[in-house]
Amino acid sequence: MSPETQYIDLFHGQRALIDEHSAPALNAHRDRAAEVLANVGLQRGKDASHVDPAEVLAKDYSLNLARYEVPTERDDIFTCAVPEMSTNMHFLVNEQYVSLRDENRVAAVPDGCYVGSLREFARQRPDVIGRYYNQLAGRRTDTGDVRSKQYEACSLGESALNTMLCQDGFVLYVAAGVQMERPVQLINLLRAVEDFMAVQRLLVIVEDGAKASLLVCDHASRLNEEAHLLSLQTTEVFVGRGATLDFYSLEEHHDLATRLGQLYVRQQGASNVAIGQYSLTVGQTRNRVHVELVEPDAQLQLYGMATLDADQQLDNITFIDHKAPNCSSNELFKYVLDDRAKGSFLGRILVRQGSDKTDAHQTDRNLCLTPEARMVARPELEIYADDVKCSHGATVGQLDQQALFYMRTRGIPEEEARLLLMFAFMGDVIDGIRLEPLRDRLKHLVEKRFRGQLNHCKGCAVSR
């Protein structure tokens, strides 16, 4: 039986239970999602990438549809206190929003805004959910016959599976004109003693003229040396006219954790968005990012960084769709691959007809530290407008042997010289982070990571 059929059968069998523990505004999307899953199917085959969603999902994971509370030692997650970073700290344990009710940790949310459980929000504000939820993840493709179609469609099956089963998650809703000065931090913790799939759903809405920043930290706990954990994480982000959003995601998973992430972003006119995906440690991860710039003068900075070793596998598949004139996008991805790690960067920029004065740049640079490490880089541009400024480029290389020798002749030990070079390599992708405390913290974490001192998933490294 195909994994699609298996999950659709499960859905029909457990429909009442799923609905009961969720909210009507979310339940309303399930039937259509099941249809899409049946029609579109999960992404298959590895092509240039390494993680095959259909193969991942063919494994028999258990789900927590009855919403049993996950026993969580408070210390595991609640000791996180990030000085300067955020007092707006929120938690998803698997897919379940965990309420903190701690005045010191959750700052008051401005009037008309919401930060918290998707299920609660869907019950309180079905009107807002109706306007936004599943509008990007449940889309029909509209690229027509341009070649980018495959990029547009490539994760809709996984997102449909998410929509079909999702019961809770996280919402950041910033009403028009509200400036949230303090960053919001969401900690996602995978936690199970057996093979388990968390169906995580994130919804971020920053209305016209509003401003917010969000840091999402993904962790996987290791309660059992054999339990495979899967995070099926679908995130939809809406950024209104003249609105600003910084959206950073930091992944620290372990070798038995898999992540299938789909991030959909829609930017309206003159909005300004910075996205950073920082993969510090992963098991198997496939990140798909899809950003649409739908009105003029929108600006996007999309950064990604990965430090991979052992047998870790990471795919970043990005699609930036310029649908309006005078927008800019600046994309930069950097990987350092050690041991037998495998990575891919498949990046497509589409500049549609009429999107004149587009300024789009894409760079992907990678270091393979061993002959066994593998990197696939596919930088792609597809342009249907004449008056544009676009560039793309990718490199896969090794540490500069001359620089290494030069440093050693000055007495810098080889290992230290390698670290300095690796760290220097990541310089620009870290310096581009607009949240200063995160930038400093990440520098520290990346250095620890290269030194092999990063303590995998004993809580949130950002806050330690």
Binding site: R410, G411, E416, A417, L421
Partner: protein, 252 residues
């Protein structure tokens, strides 16, 4: 005891033999000039002395301070006081001069059992040594050699030498590409480090540097061997007549 003793050194790069039996002894406090036509093996000799992994020693030995130099890693040689001023200094984007120098100085101190310098001590040392070669502060704040002019790169080499205070410094065509003023600054930097314990090997094509640093010994390298040894007068003759007379003496 001699500081450095090279015995019958043969070396090759990518399977091609470049050095074919070099013998050279250097005592503490001596300055030796190494000259020779392009491709004779001068830079290969400096690469071998510093442990460049691209070069392979096929025969012979090098004794430095009574130890087997060839058994040491490049960083260990640096800790033992060997320094090479590169003919082509390497640019290292993203690694600041400050971090680079701090790592180098503190690794050396650690090897000698000394405590790491505090940030204040280190910056003071940087300032002091920068003045020796008149290296601009803004260069010291940049990435290593990145965006430096040719002359700035060479001055940066001597700055690093001043920071590390080597026992044996090798200047590989440090004078090439320098204007007269820069050459004087570099030479002054070299001369300041002279002492009864420290020795230098100066590889050069030009007279000017030798006038400044005044070597006691001059060696002519040709086709991978030292074919002639002499004093300063040998250098003078090379500058006056070139290498042809040496080739003739060798029967070529």
């Amino acid at each position: 005891m001699s500081l450095l003793e090279i015995r019958n050194l043969h070396a090759s790069v990518a399977g091609k033999e470049i050095l074919r039996g070099i013998d050279l002894t250097i005592n503490p406090g001596e300055v030796h000039a190494v000259m020779g036509p392009n491709g004779a093996g001068k830079s290969t000799l400096s690469a071998i002395l510093t442990g460049n992994p691209q070069y392979e020693v096929t025969e012979g030995e090098i004794i430095y301070k009574g130890k087997d130099l060839l058994a040491m890693k490049p960083e260990q040689r640096a800790w033992e006081g060997i320094f090479l001023s590169f003919q082509y200094p390497v640019e290292i984007p993203g690694v600041s001069m400050v971090n680079f120098m701090r790592s180098a100085v503190n690794a050396q101190r650690e090897y000698r059992g000394e405590a790491a310098l505090s940030a204040t001590e280190f910056l003071k040392l940087m300032r002091e040594k920068r003045a020796v070669v008149q290296l601009d502060n803004k260069l010291a704040n940049r990435s290593v050699n990145e965006g430096f002019s040719g002359g700035e790169k060479k001055r940066n080499e001597i700055f690093q030498m001043a920071m590390l205070e080597p026992t044996l410094s090798i200047l590989d065509e440090t004078d090439s590409g320098l204007d007269v003023d820069a050459l004087r600054i570099v030479s002054d930097g070299v001369n300041r480090l002279k002492s009864a314990e420290r020795s230098s090997i100066v590889i050069t094509h030009y007279q000017k540097l030798l006038e400044y640093v005044q070597p006691q010994f001059v060696h002519i390298v040709y086709k991978g061997r030292i074919v002639k040894n002499g004093g300063p007068e040998l250098g003078d003759r090379i500058f006056a007549e070139g290498f042809d007379w040496i080739k003739q003496e060798l029967g070529e």
